[in-house]
Amino acid sequence: MALSPELCKKMYTDMWRIRLFEEEANRQTSLGSVVGALHMYCGEEAVAVGVCSNLRDDDYVLGTHRSHGHCLAKGAESHRMMAELFGKATGTCGGKGGSMHIADFSLNMLGANGIVGAGIAPATGAALASKLRGTDQVSVCFFGDGAAARGTFHEGIGLGALWKLPVVYVCENNQYQQWVPRMNVAVLDSVADMAGSYAIPGVSVDGQNLVEVHEVAGEAVERARKGGGPTLIEARTYRFYGHSLGDEEQYRSSEEVDEMRTNHDPIQTFLSTMMEQGWLTEEEDTEIQNQVKDEIAEAVRFAEESPYPTPDNVTTDVLAPEQEVA
């Protein structure tokens, strides 16, 4: 999808939506309104936005435990996501999923996932469904660098490659698998190099650079849509926060984090690009940020005012309400 000023503004806005949604969720956690694990995506916004900006509404996305960004980039509503984090009945999953399991099937966002690497084969399956139905929908699976060590990476990508399915595998290599620097436990530096095992294209891209991610993902989505099969993209990125809230981050220096926040913030990098190209004025920038701030404030208000699910919801949604048996 060619870059236009309009698309760029939308992508820029989406990155701010992710950033401010999460920083607010973080704050709400410290206030005790949001409970459970919160895996912050901040710092990686260019990956979700750069990839999803190439997708149609009917394309499939499967995510990870760190998926607020994927959901928002696919178009999920921030107020229903915030309500989900609050455990409210109005949440995207009615308060049954929480941060690690947000899904919005109306957008074909088939779910974040609490198990590392567990989305890869299902994304392949969703792509198989598109092929069987004869549609040109594309599936995208996001996963972290830790997932590349799992058997599901090998099995899922292996099947996608075997059947040349319309799927794009996007590895968000944020350099750390939980509390361990990736290269302490990996042999290959680049996950993209693993694509050779499946005879599919493997591309490594600077995940802090929205324009580059958008272009690389655009080619991969186009190839998938036209029947050219899967692509493995490695977006080299960085999370500005720890693995989850409360992480003491003893495995990396504060200088390293500061350097990334200062010089490799995907939002600031893209802002500079837009300013250089004359695609955005300072006034528009302020307007966008204020608009997103309002959206997030409204999301919190909605979450706070929403009711909790009632006890009868404990036993619903285990199986379909009416079993079709004959």
Binding site: K96, A118, A121, G125, A129, L132, T152, L319, V325, A326
Partner: protein, 324 residues
């Protein structure tokens, strides 16, 4: 009209008929095309529905995960795991993915997937190719566990399983693939969650699972000589479990024996026995007894196997014991 078919033929017929009826159904598994599956259940599907059968590399987690994703995206996969023992290689996909999706997404997701599991002792293949483990999956909310014992039920239950909007673990005991029985013509379906009284009796209820049903019917004939009129209930569906039919029968007869081929310890029979104990205590005239295999891995030697798999004498002995 009835026809006599083998268990395998009945399953094959169900698959063919359902695939003809609904284009969203596809078959996926190891050796399902070239060999027609190890028990020939998928034979002929590749010729008739070449676009809807996928022969895979040996990758159970991948196969199961593809099934989950395709199901969430609106298809109806029928996954074949060559030997049920190998489902342990795909437990995340079954337990954390297929079973949880509807709940975690607040009812948005549906995973209409059938997982076919050839199980139990067949040819002597020892401990890694003979397991049953129905109770592992009974314990997981969001999964349905179905165990047909006759060709007629195999066809009717597989059709219902394929039409179910939720995942079904479909247990096929290898030893009864070649058994024969009557299968009704037409669109024969059997609702999941309904037990069947196979033989009526007044003195004791034998609740049986899978191949233990036929053995229980044989035991009931032998027990007539001892003056016992035994009722035999085929559980057919272990989750959901038809507690109503089971408890009604036991309350009427006052005696209960629960038979499964798997180890009784924390097995399917144990759950059924517990349900009977909770619901029928005041009607029971004796203890609820389980018949099953000892808590050991399946051995190889036939001389050892015959001391593991429960047979007719184990049932007659158990019934006699509870009647004392």
């Amino acid at each position: 009209m009835m026809r006599t078919l083998t268990f395998s033929e009945a399953l094959r017929e169900a698959l063919h008929e359902e695939m003809e009826r609904d284009e969203t159904i596809f078959v996926i598994g190891e050796d399902v095309i070239t060999h027609g599956g190890p028990y020939k259940v998928t034979d002929g599907i590749a010729e008739r529905f070449p676009e809807r059968i996928f022969e895979t590399p040996i990758a159970e987690a991948g196969i199961m995960g593809v099934g989950v994703g395709a199901a969430m995206a609106g298809m109806n996969p029928v996954v074949e795991i060559m030997y049920m023992d190998f489902v342990t290689c795909a437990m995340d996909e079954v337990v954390n993915q297929a079973a949880k999706m509807r709940y975690m997404t607040g009812g948005q997701a549906s995973v209409p997937m059938v997982i076919r599991l050839p199980c139990g002792v067949g040819r002597l293949l020892a401990a890694q190719h003979s397991q049953i483990m129905e109770s592992w999956f009974m314990h997981v909310p969001g999964l349905q566990v179905v165990v047909p014992s006759t060709p007629g039920d195999a066809k009717g239950l597989l059709k219902s399983a394929i039409r179910s909007p939720d995942p079904v673990l479909f247990f096929e005991y290898k030893r009864i693939y070649t058994s024969t029985g009557e299968v009704p013509d037409g669109d024969h379906t059997i609702p999941i969650g309904q037990a069947k009284i196979c033989r009526e009796g007044e003195d004791a209820t034998v609740v049986a699972i899978g191949p233990m049903v036929q053995k229980s019917l044989e035991a009931a004939v032998l027990l007539e000589d001892d003056g016992y009129d035994v009722e035999v209930v085929d559980a057919r569906s272990l989750s959901p479990l038809d507690t109503e039919t089971i408890c009604e029968s036991v309350s009427r007869t006052g005696h209960a024996v629960v038979c499964g081929e798997d180890s009784s310890f924390a097995g399917a029979a144990s759950e059924i026995a517990a349900v009977i104990g909770e619901n029928c205590f005041r009607d029971l005239k004796g203890p609820v007894v389980r018949v099953g295999s000892p808590h050991v891995p399946m051995p190889f030697s036939s001389e050892l196997v015959k001391h593991v798999v429960p047979e007719v004498p184990d049932i007659t002995e158990a019934v006699s014991r509870v009647m004392m």
